[in-house]
């Protein structure tokens, strides 16, 4: 009883409850937290994905699908692979991190968003590259 009694008296400062929806503003996840896979775009709407499909192979669950095409690279003028759509099925993802580990150009990263629940299942299938985005200059496999 002495142990519980001590905690009762110190209950004011000792509470470990996270008052979750209230502390949304102050709640900060760790930078390595694996919430979802995102593809960062810079201010010119450019990403770093070359469409090498290594992540697609590395994924154990088939949660990444890359739809690609061949096109003329406007920086080098050579014909090379270009991604059309980087489809990411969050519903299949187990957050194992193999795709990000294997990515040679660091095109995909972990997002810290943990509020992944949605009302519609189709919303879990995402296209990670933004419309009309293109490959950043100088990125090679």
């Amino acid at each position: 009883m002495s142990v519980t009694g001590k905690y009762f008296l110190n209950s004011r400062k000792g509470a470990i409850t996270q008052q979750y929806p209230d502390n949304r503003d102050t709640l900060k996840m760790f930078e390595r937290f694996r919430g979802e896979v995102i593809m960062p775009h810079d201010e010119n709407n450019e990403h770093a994905c070359t469409g090498c499909q290594k992540c697609e192979i590395a994924c154990p669950n088939g949660s990444i699908e890359i739809i690609w095409d061949r096109g003329i690279d406007e920086y080098s003028g050579k014909k090379r692979k270009k991604i059309d759509k980087f489809v990411y099925h969050l519903s299949l993802c187990t957050m194992c991190g193999l795709c990000i580990d294997v990515c040679p150009t660091d095109a995909i990263k972990w997002g810290q968003n943990f509020e992944n629940s949605v009302y519609d299942r189709t919303k879990l299938t995402r296209v990670l590259n933004k419309p009309d985005s293109k490959l950043r200059a100088g990125i090679e496999d």
Binding site: M1, T4, Y7, F8, S11, G14, A15, Q19
Partner: protein, 336 residues
């Protein structure tokens, strides 16, 4: 208005007042339990509905009222529906005897203590009925455990109170309180009274089926015990009755051992209306003690429960009565 009609009206009004007390006390106790438990467990507890969550249990009660009443197909419908009322009526009846203050007591009969013990043990019939009629094996085990437990611990409750009756010489609650004007009984009876108090608290906790004696529910063993198959308001009756029973046990202990509405050393003797405050303070202190038990101790096993009663509490009690009798006979009581 003819006299009988007036009497009936009076009774109805009193009954409604007591129903109000019953529900408010029940809801407050549930809330208190949750907050106290939370503080023991490094949590905050309900704090959203109303000031500091005071209305949380109201909201829960509303939710329970609006819920669907489900039951098993093969249940004995009549007994199944009857059981919650047994439990709740018995605790409501006991509440009527509690002397909240000198003038605030519904009926002050001359066999007060005896009546309290008798009434509070009716509740177990409701539990047995509920467990049997649910047609669920877990419920049945829970109900059987409850029967065993209540019948055993009834003895200790009765005997420990009997020890104190030796001091007062009366079963009437108001007279028992009068005697305590010369010092609370726990002081008057000193050592045997303290032992009787301890035995009463243990047995009382067991009789209300609270941890560490919550064999009846034992959620890690039996799911929810006898009320597994109850839902909605019927479940709420059981739930509420449990908390009222806890309150009643604490109130009896306050009345018998701690001088009911009497203030310590008579400091507020001149203000009789403060009696109810004193009564509630003492009662809630004891309720808090029971909650402290609950959130600290592990549960006993069913055979250990019976061993504790029949091999330890009962002999202690019997010896204690003899000691108390000797003390009363030799006038060794402490009186101010």
């Amino acid at each position: 208005m003819p006299e009988t009609a007036a009497q009936i009206t009076e009774m109805i009004i009193i009954a409604i007042i007591y129903l109000g007390i019953f529900s408010v006390a029940g809801l407050f106790l549930v809330f208190m339990e949750r907050r106290v438990a939370a503080w023991f467990q490094l949590r905050i507890g309900p704090n959203r509905v109303g000031y500091q969550g005071l209305l949380q249990t109201m909201a829960d009660a509303l939710k329970l009222v609006s819920k669907e009443l489900t039951g098993t197909v093969k249940a004995d419908k009549f007994l199944y529906n009857l059981a919650p009322y047994f439990v709740i009526i018995s605790s409501l009846m006991a509440l009527g005897l509690i002397p909240f203050s000198k003038s605030f007591q519904a009926f002050d009969i001359n066999i007060g203590i005896f009546f309290l013990i008798a009434v509070s043990s009716i509740g177990v019939i409701g539990i047995l009925l509920g467990g049997w009629a649910s047609n669920n094996k877990y419920s049945l085990i829970g109900a059987m455990r409850s029967g065993v437990q209540t019948i055993s611990y009834e003895l200790s409750v009765g005997l420990s109170l009997l020890t104190m009756v030796l001091l007062t010489g009366s079963l009437q609650l108001s007279e028992m309180v009068e005697v305590q004007k010369h010092g609370w009984l726990i002081l008057q009876g000193h050592i045997p009274a303290v032992i009787a108090f301890m035995v009463f608290m243990i047995a009382g906790t067991a009789e209300t089926n609270r941890a560490p004696f919550d064999m009846v529910e034992a959620e890690s063993e039996l799911g929810a015990g006898f009320h597994t198959e109850y839902s909605g308001m019927k479940f709420a009756y059981f739930f509420l009755a449990e908390f009222i029973n806890m309150f009643i046990i604490a109130a009896i202990a306050t009345t018998v051992f701690f001088g009911a509405w009497l203030s310590p050393f008579g400091i507020t003797e001149s203000l009789p209306w403060l009696g109810i405050i004193w009564f509630l303070i003492k009662t809630f202190a004891l309720v808090f003690l029971m909650m402290w038990f609950r959130w600290t101790f592990p549960r006993l096993r069913v055979d250990q429960l019976l061993t504790l009663e029949w091999k330890y509490l009962l002999p202690i009690n019997l010896v204690n009565i003899v000691v108390m009798a000797l003390i009363v006979w030799q006038k060794l009581t402490i009186q101010f």
